[in-house]
Symmetry: C2
Subunit: 321 residues, 2 copies
């Protein structure tokens, strides 16, 4: 019998992700292990002990009777949680500094773009208008971050360093140095009432589906120098009610939106997001993960596990993240 | 005789700066002092002990025979240094945390915009193209900051926190925690050779006039994932050779430019900067100063001075900043 295998299942949605590139990285990172890119007709499914996956087809993982752990190659596990036949083995989220740093870049960039009136300034440039408007300091703006895991906490700290007032909200209680933290549904309204720029980095679960909707937007603070509040979603498309975002941008409930994720990706050509003057659109590239870093992370986790240590960043299936 | 006066001389170029608003702020900040907005025919020039100025007309200040100190209401004193009749009294630069924080916002925003391919992504949005390109981590990009005073040092530290490799260059030797510091003409080429995104925050002096020219751009490092290097000038328009910037953008020596300052301001309607697809243009609003903070700073300096303490942030006239 051959060495137990690490199976790679990499499917749709992983733009710019070449399965072959991932295989090469995993071969490098797991030198003493057999890495098999699925599908592979020659492979006996019983030989697979570990699977590293990105959006596998529901049912794919159930085919491995001796699976010991599943590694998700991105931060969000919502696609996996939707697979009712998912084997009952530890499911590990990726948590690497590279991904955190990239998300912080995205969040800081988009908060600053709205704070510093970039939509207005680009319009002015196009129209050849030299017409600066009054610019408030960062200390006049409250940024509220929904989701205070590794990603939210890191972005919060850089924003605070830039002078923004920063608060965070999470489902269960969290503490982040120097950041006012709210939690649970009971404190959500108080958090929203103090927020001018809302950044959403929540995991997608049944509880958070369409949490970004008109009711929520209407509770944000519209009295800052920014005027109407701004929403930035770099979590998952399923978190947002897209019709509500468009209607709220149109009627002034929202002043602007930065969106990296959408209900359907790639975003259909007929979506009004493409052309809306208040939308800053990116093609789900807020935090592209680096195969190098992730394959090393998975290799390290497997080593730990085989040495009898606990896996890190294991998903709580009850919570869904 | 009336109390000695603080004369306010606020002239051209101070967009969004209402002299009356400044007077009100200074009245508040200097309650025990007579604040006079110039010109004031009723004022005996001999009564003026202090002047707070923005781009006064050359010769204006020479009219005050009992002047003890001059306070410049912005960071750059190049306009004052060009006045050959400037009285030989201490000339004080503004140095307030509010101005530093605003400049850091601008620098971080524009570095991130170029690093995160904003010009490409906005084009993609306009053309309804879902086409993310490979995105390198910040650690693959070297940002070089020319000018390591209060402003440069603060921006450098936030950029380093975001993961960029950051170096700085200044005329005389400076040390900034965690930043590789170069100085003097002898180390300029080594600094440029290691720089992918060049941020210029230098004071404008005879030595730095047109320092941003083709020779300098050609020495920057074009081998990063960014491709051709990027220049960001938030110092003074006089630092840049504008024909060279345009020619270098056209021939690919530079990949893009963010410009906040220009040889002539407001930027003339026929400048190609307005329409150049690789230029991100702002109307000299990188760090609008807050009259509240500045009037308090001036009041505090005058108090110190009258109590026998040294003024802070006094310009070295030999260096010109």
């Amino acid at each position: 019998m051959q060495k137990p295998a690490l199976a790679l299942l990499i499917h749709g949605g992983a733009q710019n992700w070449s399965p072959q590139r991932w295989k090469a990285r995993f071969d490098d990172a797991c030198r003493d292990r057999r890495v098999v890119l699925m599908p592979d007709a020659a492979l006996d499914p019983a030989e697979v002990h570990y699977a590293a996956v990105w959006k596998p087809v529901p049912g794919d993982l159930a085919a491995f009777p001796n699976l010991r752990a599943i590694f998700n190659l991105g931060a969000g596990v919502d696609a996996l949680m939707a697979d009712s036949s998912l084997p009952d083995v530890p499911l590990v989220r990726v948590a690497v500094a590279d991904l955190t740093a990239r998300m912080t870049e995205y969040v800081v960039l988009h908060v600053l773009m709205h704070h510093r009136q970039e939509l207005y300034l680009r319009d002015s440039q196009r129209e050849k208008r030299w017409a600066p408007k009054k610019q408030s300091p960062a200390s006049a703006i409250s940024v509220g971050i929904m989701g205070l895991g590794t990603l939210g906490a890191d972005a919060a700290q850089v924003l605070a360093r830039l002078g923004f007032r920063v608060a965070g909200w999470s489902r269960s209680e969290r503490k982040v140095d120097g950041i006012e933290c709210f939690h649970g549904t009971g404190q959500l309204d108080a958090f929203l009432k103090a927020t001018n720029i809302l950044v959403c980095l929540l995991p997608l679960t049944p509880d958070t589906t369409h949490i970004l909707n008109r009711d929520l937007f209407a509770k944000l603070d519209a009295t800052s120098p920014l005027g109407a509040p701004v929403v930035i979603n770099a979590g998952r498309g399923g978190l947002q009610n897209e019709a509500d975002i468009l209607a709220c941008l149109d009627d002034g409930t929202l002043g602007a939106a930065s969106l990296d994720v959408y209900a359907t990706e790639p975003l259909p050509a007929d979506s009004r997001f493409w052309t809306h003057p208040k939308v800053v659109l990116t093609p789900h590239n807020a935090a592209d993960t680096d195969p190098d870093e992730i394959s090393k992370y998975v290799a390290r986790q497997i080593e730990r596990f085989e040495a009898g240590d606990a896996l890190e960043n294991v998903v709580d299936r009850g919570r869904g993240y």
